[in-house]
Homo-oligomer: 354 residues x 2
């Protein structure tokens, strides 16, 4: 009941007294200050959570805010302080559960901290990311979360000169100036390769799609281990530029089996590829893991239901999102950060397929 008076205030106050007035009808900080009997600056300080206000006054202001249903105007705030109160997150795409889980974790933390997030989809295209960065940076975001490090020198300078706190996710850097949260893509792929070698496999194929930087790092890790074991065959390294999908996994598995009947293991760089491969094995009557071991990557939901259940390298994407968001929050507040690079590791989930 009383609430209605706070929004319908347009008719009550400043009734077209001054002709040039542009009435938006919005409850402003001035309204709050007037009701609390303080100056707008003091009201501003209370609303912004500064502690330099006498408790008694602060209480009066809070009561006024409550009574009027006051909500600060983000635009006015951003204009006056030269800083917006939202966070920008740039990810390659939404069609990989990896990124949606990361995003949800970031959003959970940022929402609690009062920061809405802008999500930009780069589609793994550098020009698209550059355009997004350019556009979003003009909003002067409070913080920035970027996927990986694959960008041009001029973009790095753009970010640098904007002085926007920034955290990179999914990869690690040695540069102490760079803040990042992730795990070793190379190391993760090495763990999978070693696992297959330990299972006695020697003719091991690697299947990567999309060919983004992280996929190439995994290929590198895989290759290094196989070369050291003296069983690396470049013909078993399939790098397909098309986007990752079950259909592609099935297609590649079929081709591999036809060309290399002695194949005894396949490491798919993504679980959806592996699902396709596993189903194709079923279709072809190739026993898994009897004849061929199959391992996926990321360990997205659904692996346990596969036939056989799919072994996969579990990547900590929720944790990455969570830790990265908290780190960014510290940077945004100017608080010290323990370590610029946080390695969250990974875990090989061995199931029936290997």
């Amino acid at each position: 009941m009383n609430d209605s008076s706070s929004t319908g205030g347009g008719a009550v106050r400043a009734p077209a007294a001054r002709s040039r007035r542009r009435a938006t009808g919005r409850t402003t900080l001035a309204d709050v200050a007037a009701l609390a009997g303080v100056s707008p600056i003091t009201a501003s300080r209370v609303v912004a959570g500064k502690t330099t206000v006498r408790p008694e006054l602060a209480e009066r202001v809070r009561a006024a805010v409550e009574h009027l249903g006051y909500r600060p105007d983000p635009s006015a705030r951003a204009l006056a302080s030269a800083k917006s109160s939202h966070v920008v997150v740039l990810i390659p795409l939404l069609s990989n559960t990896l990124f949606t889980e990361l995003l949800e974790a970031v959003q959970d933390v940022m929402w609690d901290a009062g920061y809405p997030i802008f999500v930009g989809i780069t589609q793994y295209r550098p020009e698209r990311e550059a355009a997004l960065l350019d556009s979003y940076l003009s909003h002067r975001p409070a913080g920035l979360i970027l996927t990986g490090f694959d960008r041009s020198e001029s973009q790095r300078r753009l970010i640098e000169s904007s002085r926007t706190p920034c955290v990179h996710v999914m990869e690690l850097s040695d540069d102490p100036e760079v803040h990042c949260v992730g795990f070793s893509q190379v190391g993760a792929a090495q763990a999978v390769a070693r696992h297959l070698l330990e299972r006695g496999r020697r003719r091991i194929a690697f299947v990567g799609a999309q060919l983004d930087p992280r996929t190439l790092e995994r290929a590198e890790g895989f290759r290094s281990v196989l070369q050291a074991a003296g069983c690396h065959d470049p013909r078993l390294e399939i790098l397909d530029p098309r986007p990752s999908s079950a259909a592609l996994g099935a297609e590649v598995f079929r081709r591999l089996m036809a060309a290399h009947p002695d194949l005894d293991a396949v490491f798919f760089c993504n679980d959806d590829l592996a699902h396709g491969g596993l189903l194709e094995a079923l279709r072809l009557g190739v026993p898994v893991p009897g004849r061929v071991s199959v391992v996926g990557f990321n360990d997205l939901p659904g692996n346990a239901q596969m036939l056989p259940a799919l072994s996969s390298l579990r990547t900590p994407r929720r944790e990455v999102g969570d830790v990265a968001a908290r780190m960014l929050l510290r940077l945004m507040r100017g608080e010290p950060v323990d370590m610029p690079a946080v390695d969250l590791g990974f875990e090989l989930k061995v199931r029936a397929s290997s």
Copy 2:
């Protein structure tokens, strides 16, 4: 080379002449106007794309914008015009490909039109949606895209009173005041039920999870057709409140087969449930479609790879996103919209599983 002078301008112009000046170093519309030799208002009109400026002046302004690398400040713009230039999209979650595809389509259209989008995840929780709406509306977005109609009267009033152009997606309404783009959830489920009846199935189960409004509408459509055919058995209607997943689909399928050995078809309300069901059938040795037909919903990627390939009802989520975004753009520009409700239909993809 020349570009660097536009950003490094802080040292060049207004060198701490007036003491109170807060130097942001940003290139402003005033800089553009000065260089072009026009007033800021004229420059503003050119930048905003108004046609009421003499071509010659407009050209000078555009050249100045180009030369200085001027980018309008969104906050200042929003404050002065009482309108932001971004669009808010509220969806239940990111873990359903349905919504990520819809989102990508919306983003594609809005990006081209120059509107960044804010994405809010409601997690199917009304309180969460209410909080998001409250927060995002305070930014005075240029437009709003909402999933479905399931919200309280007070929220509807909040949206209404904000006068934000709004389009609803995934469901249809009769109300001519309401703008929406979607298809008939009831009709889609009826199509699946009829298809199974035509296949000679009589003991048909329905499996729905999450129990959001659209799932319940599908249950309703399914029920109506089976009742009309005289073969509705309430015990075969499984409505599970847990989130949809392959694991849940597998679990429910196993339970159903154990309790009702005479079952001859299952309609899963989501493809991930159906995938789990199909894999469980393989595991149990239940022939599909020999003994049991299986149909999914949405027709997300990967159905063709399943064993057997999964029949599913294809929903037009990309088209929904695309059409909804274009409709919203028209509303935002105050242009007339042909029809307030656009029904995009659906298509039953019959594959080997039914």
